[in-house]
Amino acid sequence: MHKPDSAPNHADLSQAINRQTNTRLTALFAEQATWVFLAALLSALVLGFATDTFATSQNLFNVTRNFAFVGLVALGMTVVIISGGIDLSVGSVVCLSAMVQAIVMNAGYGFFPAAVLALAAAALVGLVNGALIAWLRIPSFVVTLGMLSIARSLAMVLSDNRMIYEFGPDQALLFTLGGGATFGIAHPVIALALLGVATAFLLRWSQWGTHVFAIGANERAAVLTGIAVPWVKISVYVFSSLMAGVTGVLEAGWLGGVTTNLGQSMELAVIAAAVIGGANLLGGSGTVLGAIVGAALIEIIRNSLILLGISTFWQGAFVGFFIILAVAFDRLRALRSAQF
């Protein structure tokens, strides 16, 4: 017969309860974002030494601005992926929002009314996505695949498939916001930094963030504990669409003209960035920093191919390699922790 209760004494117990298992350092190296960041940094250093064109301020300016657009959309995608879904419509929403911005400004209205309408159009797409996914329980893959087609088609209908390059009285403001720089930093990069901090804050500190993680890990548990799961899901898709909407407005300003193929197949680069940065397509994990360094890594690969004179046709191979590597890395870690 064993003794039923070998409870440790009170002081020992409270000490054990208040100890923390993970130190900050082990947590840092368990984070995929850290490794992707090191990979991106290493490639940048190698390129800096191997070429005399990489580390120029003009090239760095271009690299950061280029990945800022993918990074911005990846913020929303990361939140969607954490919640256990996927949003394939983001590329088309970028186009729709840019088109609404362009058409309204082209008609002689100012930047701000146009931006409000552009973001409203984006939010509406997210609302429809979210409602179909949360209430009708249609898989997010299917709903957003349909929306990918619908949103781009709407942009074509609105513009009659013309390119719009005249933006009325506030044209200069639009071009400055999308294409200009402050203190030598491209404005889209500043937008990415601000919205990235906001998103990271929401995920880490808000009740909404906790609920997004909970739904991604165990939706049934979220329902049973009384979380308003449908509303959280809807908010997640609206959030993703809004990020794509902001990107559309900025990209219109940077490109100086909007065509209906803007943002075509951008969703793939965005999902790649999120996954390389550690977002798990099964839901429940992902970080803002991971999405941003994932986007950076993709752009550095592209840039290095150009600078090293290698055909850019190789870009897809490298990005694909990193996607698989990132997921394999995650699997290996899971296997290892299952063993111990």
Binding site: P4, I17, N18, G216, A217, N218, A221, T225, G226
Partner: protein, 246 residues
Amino acid sequence: MAVLKLENVAKNFGAIEALRGVSLQIEKGEVIGLMGDNGAGKSTLVKIIAGNFRASAGRMFMQNREVAFHSPLDARRHGIEIVYQDLALCDNLTAAANVFLGRELTWRLGPVRINDYAAMNRRAAELFQELKSETRPRDLVRQMSGGQRQAVAIARTRLSNADIVLMDEPTAAISVRQVVEVLNLIRRLRDQGVAVVLISHRMPDVFGLADRVVVLRRGSIVADKPVAATSPQEVTGLITGAIEHA
């Protein structure tokens, strides 16, 4: 006065009569062992009490007032908590976040609700201390043992000071050492005046812990007696039908 009283509760799933004529009383701080063969209706019974299912017939009273629950949240507001067999935990969140899931302590920042992690960790640590479980509030549930995960699920029921905690086979899928740990957790609950309904297939759980044993067979209660007045042999006979009634 009974914290919970069921009167002639029945439940049909289409043509299947999962429960019929079930009457049961639960007193404060009492542990009831609910036993029965697979498909006898045990889970159905606790799910009716917990608000997951509506009864097809019969009445339910708490403190002599008739109640009817429309959802698990509704039952929870009346002081009934359930620990699901799979525990309903989120692996990617900390123990404290799981304890407070859906009931986070927050403060407002404009339209956003900000988690008060310090307060939640502190309260969760107190709850684990009360349960005498070595479970750390800030650790991820993913890294926890079966016993610690049970402690998290049980701590959840302590947040609201529930009067009744329903546990569906808490010892079904864990190691022997962890069974001891979980039974101790249930003792702590009882010591705090909580009534516990414990579904189990294991005689030692019920005979070591319960005050009363209730046996369900094909949807009806065939025995309801103090543990001291029966034996594992008799209960086994009641479960299988070798003994008709007791």
